[in-house]
């Protein structure tokens, strides 16, 4: 088991290295440079541009730029092109803003998707199954921002739920309790909207996984020996159907960065996705590259976690691994 984990970590470190090189090359080889963001500004003289380029090492060969990036990243010296603020603290602050949104959305997804999916599988072909299937496809097919705008139109007038930002402006001096309530209130709609697609997709997975398991022989055996239907479904079928989902915890992590751009933009949520979006607009290479790097680390960590979890929960996988060693 240990050898398996160590081998996996080493493989993933190698992958990470290749990913970082690839990301670095894509960004630097593509046309469009930080010095070109504001070409019409008459105060930007050629010598200024040359100075900026030298300061950002933009005239050095690519491998040197890569080395500089890596060195600065790991010594924590990496500075944003835009405002010369250190990149890592900047990302950390935005990460703390994204985190509550991510956690709420994930909790919503997992609490709604499982009952919906299991119920649909148990009643395959019934009215509930067909209508929930249809609703799930509607949610998958609607552009996220279209749905969010419809939601905003509806809830703001009807319930007065806030839909902009993380807190009400001017509440800084309020009591902590009210501040907390305000923060929670602001979370409602953004997390609901970012969860909508996830609920639809995951409940479909749960349904098909349950269907797969229900048709297995051991479920028929359980029924055959006269167990109650609830025991059959929840003790025999569900436990085995859950296996792949344990591993899906691992795949959730990267959603922190990639999945949030649109929703953070709609709800003016000052999180990682918006940071990335603005970094792209400003050609802020260190921020873009570091975000990309962190996303890759999260993906790799996630797949590692899911591999390990799989081995932990599924004895068949564990024996196979031990057989290999």
């Amino acid at each position: 088991m240990q050898a398996f984990i160590i081998r996996n970590i080493l493989q993933r470190l190698l992958l990470l290295f290749i990913v970082s090189i690839l990301a670095h090359s894509i960004i630097h080889l593509a046309p469009g440079e930080p010095s070109e963001v504001d070409p019409s500004n008459p105060r930007m003289k050629p010598e200024d541009i040359a100075r900026i380029r030298a300061a950002f090492h933009l005239d050095d060969p690519l491998y040197l730029q890569y080395a500089y990036w890596m060195r600065d990243l790991f010594t924590g010296e990496l500075k944003s092109f835009k405002d010369s603020q250190p990149v890592l603290p900047k990302i950390w602050r935005k990460f703390l803003n994204s985190l509550p949104l991510f956690i709420c959305a994930t909790l919503l997804i997992w609490t709604f998707a499982f009952p919906a999916g299991i119920h649909a599988a148990v009643r395959r072909g019934a009215v509930y199954d067909r209508s929930s299937t249809f609703v799930a496809y509607m949610l998958i097919s609607i552009p996220g921002f279209f749905l969010s705008y419809l939601m905003i139109l509806w809830v703001v007038d009807t319930f007065g739920v806030p839909v902009i930002g993380m807190r009400t402006f001017g509440m800084e001096n309020a009591q902590p309790l009210f501040q907390t309530m305000d923060r929670v209130w602001h979370l409602v709609i953004p997390s609901l909207m970012s969860a909508a697609l996830g609920v639809a997709v995951l409940s479909r997975y749960v349904r098909s996984q349950m269907l797969e398991v229900i048709s297995q022989d051991y479920v028929r055996t359980a029924r055959g020996k006269g167990l109650e239907e609830d025991t059959v479904i929840y003790r025999h079928a569900l436990r085995n159907a859950l296996l792949p989902f344990v591993t899906m915890f691992g795949f959730l992590l990267p959603g922190l960065i990639g999945g949030s751009v649109i929703f953070e933009q709609i709800f003016a949520w000052p999180g990682l996705g918006r940071l990335g979006y603005h970094a792209i607009l400003e050609r802020d290479f260190p921020v873009i590259l570091t975000l990309n790097f962190i996303a890759a680390v999260l993906t790799l960590a996630g797949t590692l976690l899911s591999d390990i979890l799989y081995a932990v929960v599924d004895p068949r996988v564990r024996t196979r691994l031990e057989g290999e060693e």
Binding site: I142, P143, F145, F146, A295
Partner: protein
């Protein structure tokens, strides 16, 4: 039920002499949602072709005429014939879906956009399917060939893993922003970032197929590899590719509209449903039709693609068939 009855029933359900494609079609037809979806898609393709023809070749609906006196006309309203110059009047005499902030005919723009949106979807998916089959096939068939110290399989699959590490939407956004938002770039970038799933299951199918008797037989008959791959293996591995391609078109249309929302979609004068929707969001109170018409159109079309894709998946999955 006695045993013989059961046999008879099965025999009735499975007509003899049915080819696999006929069987797929028969099961597909049972799924009402998928059938409705495929009717919508046929209608959509016709709309796109006629849209292209009527907005560019024989200009019946001109999407580019600007009529400032007639801006923000609601759907089914008549042009102000006394102010708008006669050559700019819509040739059907009515704004079927209203006009936008520049007085352009929304119906004409939607027609033009249907072709562009579909083209973005199909070409992006075409690229991703091509790369996916190529790399997946190479990896599955010539996986054991050594290139120096590593095998072809290791090389290709590790590259796939590398691509899977990128946050896809963020990568698309970055590349499109840096390269410029031409329609070609958007199609190519979406295609280049979405082939990994296809490659993985084509490889899995190929690995499984190589051990099947008919491939072993074909190999021992001495057929050329080209023939084994393209005549015997690809047709058997194509079913899941077809399913994921159908759903891929839907995803590509959604991705384009998300890019448009962020201002990185297909740029004017090319109209797509995504950028009509993204432009319309600014007029959601003054001219709601600019927002709802493209939004609902995208919803219906993407829904149709997804339902057809799922219908195909059910129909082509032998495990689910005889339940």
């Amino acid at each position: 039920m006695t045993h013989s009855n059961e046999v008879n029933q099965v025999a009735e359900e499975l007509p003899l002499g049915e080819t696999p494609w006929q069987e797929t079609l028969r099961i597909f037809k049972k799924d009402r949602l998928a059938v409705v979806g495929s009717i919508v898609l046929v209608f959509l393709v016709l709309t796109a072709v006629f849209g292209k023809a009527l907005t560019e070749w024989v200009v019946v609906f001109d999407p580019e005429v600007i009529r400032l006196p007639d801006k923000f006309k609601p759907p089914l309203s008549f042009p102000s014939e006394d102010i708008v110059p006669p050559e700019d009047l819509p040739s059907v005499g009515i704004y079927l879906l209203g006009t936008d902030e520049l007085g352009r005919d929304v119906f004409a723009r939607m027609l033009q956009g249907s072709f562009v949106s579909l083209a973005v979807g199909f070409i992006a998916v075409g690229i991703s399917v091509f790369i996916g089959i190529l790399l997946g096939g190479l990896s599955g068939f010539y996986g054991n060939v050594k290139l120096g110290i590593i095998t072809v399989d290791t090389l290709i699959m590790r590259f796939t893993d590398v691509m899977l590490c990128f946050p896809t939407f963020f990568l698309i956004l970055t590349v499109v922003a840096l390269l410029g938002q031409s329609i070609l770039n958007i199609m190519v970038v979406i295609g280049l970032t979405s082939w990994m799933g296809t490659a993985r299951f084509v490889r899995a199918e190929f690995l499984a197929l190589r051990k099947q008797d008919f491939v072993v037989a074909a190999t021992s008959l001495g057929l050329p590899e080209r023939r084994i791959i393209f005549r015997h293996m690809v047709p058997n591995a194509i079913a899941p590719v077809l399913v994921s391609a159908t759903i891929g078109v839907a995803t590509a249309i959604l991705t384009e509209s998300a890019l448009s929302f962020l201002g990185f979609g297909v740029q004017p004068p090319d109209a797509t449903w995504g950028n009509i929707l993204a432009d319309g969001k600014g007029f959601i109170f003054d001219a709601p039709w600019l927002f709802f018409i493209p939004g609902i159109a995208i919803l219906v079309v993407v829904l149709a693609f997804n339902l057809v894709g799922e219908g195909l998946r059910e129909a082509m999955n032998p495990k689910l068939r005889r339940r």
